[in-house]
Amino acid sequence: MLCFVTENMGLLCSKSRRYNDANTEENAQAAEIERRIELETKAEKHIQKLLLLGAGESGKSTIFKQIKLLFQTGFDEAELKSYLPVIHANVYQTIKLLHDGSKEFAQNDVNFSKYVISDENKDIGEKLSEIGGRMDYPRLTKELAQEIESLWRDAAIQETYARGNELQVPDCTHYFMENLERLSDANYVPTKEDVLLARVRTTGVVEIQFSPVGENKKSGEVYRLFDVGGQRNERRKWIHLFEGVSAVIFCVAISEYDQTLFEDENKNRMMETKELFEWVLKQQCFEKTSFMLFLNKFDIFEKKIPDVPLNVCEWFKDYQPVSTGKQEVEHAYEFVKKKFEESYFQNTAPDSVDRVFKIYRTTALDQKVVKKTFKLVDETLRRRNLFEAGLL
């Protein structure tokens, strides 16, 4: 009797007798989905989200790749191979930039003669320039590699390369040019180092989830790292989507104080970074977010300081050198660091001054440095969590 009643109760509740079975299945599915949502929401809460921000070519994506190498399984063979077209593309793009750049200098510069490409390389230059301008690039063959190499060794190109900061010559130039033989090999598979240097402009958002494995393996902290493109675009439209991230990792390439933007050749890159930094600091969505400032590309900065004084950048115009060599590099670095500190405090509202703000010196290509730096970031964020929970 009872089961008859309960059966019929079901009949009464559902719209139609025919769909009775389907409905319970749907209900079960719906319940399952709800349960899953609830579980994931709970899990989500424990995931610390980190956002990589910074101007273009500041090293965000390199940091991203490093984290992947350090704390995930790294790049498998398929992924490494997937970078091959990117690396070849970089080679073509770069040599084209240098070639076109040398022509420009040959036309406009006072000492034009040193930028004139030698006769035997002229045709090669034109050919490579044409290839570099295409949408799709041909595979890098041995012949092409040799041609690129001979152009690279041309005195005019070397002179042009010395003025690379006036063009948009990427940092990986020297490395790829010196490795052409290997890159053009028929069985070439990119190495980790090659992949770290490969330059592709990030569009959209990429993310990875990882857990830093420390000495106590059960550290349990889970991070999700987001990398967004760095070039000028409608940042203000999407930035608020990142409200509630645990920390913003703001990357700055300190070596680019004498370079101009890809998007706007009249704008100094450091000034652009300064403006971006200040803009990000003022965003309401980051009022309580910790800020980790990565002063990146220290290795290039180190080499540049003896030759190019900091004051070429307007922001650093009051810089005065005190010594030479390594001490001077340290002094210059401290100066830059202080400028960013100043900017931070000038653009932080008094009641936000309590948020965590730390500066790290990084060389994103150096895995050891990134690992050590990230350990410190992890420690800081954990202490912050304990502090906010009132346990510290």
Partner: protein, 449 residues
């Protein structure tokens, strides 16, 4: 049922009344706690008179010495006990002084002495000597243990990393905090440079805070201080100051202050936003008031430099400090006023002081309230502010009761320069008023008028 009962006459272990004749040597007697002082441990080997009793008493500096060892006159342990005819024992020098003052009584029993001889109490002396010797040897051994441990830890730190490093540092921190001898052995063993080398751009908070905690309790020589003044190390100290517990914050503050005292100090190291913001945070901390004085002390030291003054004003420290003055303890007040006075020496500082509404009333209130130094600073600040905008400020000041206070200063026993300054300020303020109005504002009594 025992046939023989030990005599209860002497309730002392080891001495049996009657003829059992067990005689214990002094060391054993004392060791077993005859006088309830020594707890196990060291076996005294009947040490010869090599250890000087006076030295031992001084070094040990114990609070709990058996009462029978104490001279009733000086309440100090006796080094040369002598007994009077009444049977009472005193320190020789003290009882002789008593006699020299013309008294011929026994101080404790008040009896008139029938016999002026004083007998050296050799037995008591022996007991005192043995008791102190045992304590002394125990202390020495413990101290050596501690020194050994400290040296061991310094060696360990040269080798280990990670969690082991943190543990070693924590232990060393504890040892050094408790035992002065450990500190010496750390310094002698080259520990300072080992610790210094652990500070760098990649030092974790856990390691850094312990190292700083240890360094701050050691006396550092010039060389070590110079080493610690490297920009990267100072940066680390500033970071840890901003993030650490209150104890860590105070340690960082003290360490940085000790480094500044060194000559060849480059002021640009401390003209750092992070440092000044961190110090202000420390000073404003309502939960932990023990950080206020160290924070203010360092602020006062760094305010010596002009760049720092400008920076400090730019982060809004002036109004923050002024607002804090009302709730401060006296020691802190003087420091805070010194900082504000220092800031009033630059134009930006003066403007900030003037713009802060509470400045004038609080300064007026503080005159002649706390100490002469406080009055001096408050006066100096008032002078700076009133000089900047005489009409506006003097009326506020006078309304707050400045005139009466200034008169107090002039009439007080303060130093003449201060009185002179008070007089000048009074003159400045009175310029805008007619005599009668001004006097009424002074709220003076008839007689003074």
């Amino acid at each position: 049922m025992p046939m023989y009962q030990p005599s209860k006459r002497d309730m002392v272990v080891g001495f049996e009344g009657g003829g059992d004749g067990q005689i214990l040597d002094l060391d054993t007697a004392v060791k077993d706690g005859v006088l309830g002082g020594v707890d196990g441990g060291v076996v005294g080997t009947g040490v010869g008179e090599k250890l000087d009793l006076r030295k031992m008493i001084q070094e040990l500096d114990l609070c709990e010495v058996p009462t029978v060892f104490i001279c009733p006159i000086s309440l100090e342990p006796m080094q040369d006990p002598v007994t009077l005819c009444t049977g009472q024992t005193y320190e020789r020098n003290n009882i002789l002084k008593w006699f020299n003052l013309g008294h011929f009584t026994c101080p404790t029993t008040m009896q008139e002495l029938w016999d002026d001889s004083i007998t050296p109490n050799t037995t008591l002396y022996r007991l005192i000597y043995t008791w102190f010797s045992q304590k002394y040897l125990l202390m020495k051994k413990r101290s050596e243990d501690v020194q050994g441990r400290a040296s061991e830890l310094v060696e360990t730190l040269k080798k280990v990393k990670g969690q082991a490093r943190v543990h070693a540092l924590k232990e060393l921190h504890h040892v050094v905090a408790v035992h002065a001898t450990a500190r010496k052995s750390v310094i002698d063993g080259g520990g300072v440079s080992v610790l210094s080398s652990l500070l760098g751009p990649f030092t974790s908070h856990a390691v850094g805070s312990e190292v700083i905690g240890i360094l701050v309790s050691l006396t550092l020589d010039s060389e070590s201080k110079k080493n610690l003044m490297q920009p990267a190390k100072i940066s680390l100290m500033v970071d840890i100051l901003n993030e650490g517990s209150i104890e860590t914050k105070i340690n960082c503050t003290r360490l940085i202050e000790s480094l500044i005292e060194e000559k060849d100090f480059r002021s640009e190291i401390i003209s750092s936003h992070s440092l000044l913001v961190g110090l202000m945070r420390l000073v404003k901390d309502k939960r932990h008031s023990n950080g206020i004085c160290p924070g203010l002390s360092l602020l006062r030291t760094v305010c010596f430099y002009k760049e720092v003054k400008i920076l400090l004003v730019s982060i809004g420290a002036v109004s923050q400090l002024v607002e804090l003055l009302s709730g401060m303890e006296h020691e802190c007040l003087e420091l805070a006023l010194c900082v504000l006075d220092s800031l009033s020496s630059i134009p930006e500082g003066r403007v900030a002081l003037k713009d802060c509404v509470s400045t004038i009333p609080i300064m007026v209130r503080l005159l002649m309230r706390i100490s002469e130094s406080c009055t001096q600073y408050a006066l100096s600040i008032l002078w700076s502010v009133c000089k900047l905008a005489p009409e506006e400020c003097s009326s506020i000041a006078v309304d707050a009761g400045l005139a009466a206070k200034l008169l107090l200063v002039i009439q007080s026993g303060c130093n003449p320069i201060l009185k002179q300054q008070a007089a000048e300020l009074l003159k400045l303020c009175s310029l805008n008023y007619s005599d009668t109005i001004f006097i009424s504002k002074c709220k003076l009594t008839r007689t003074i008028q």
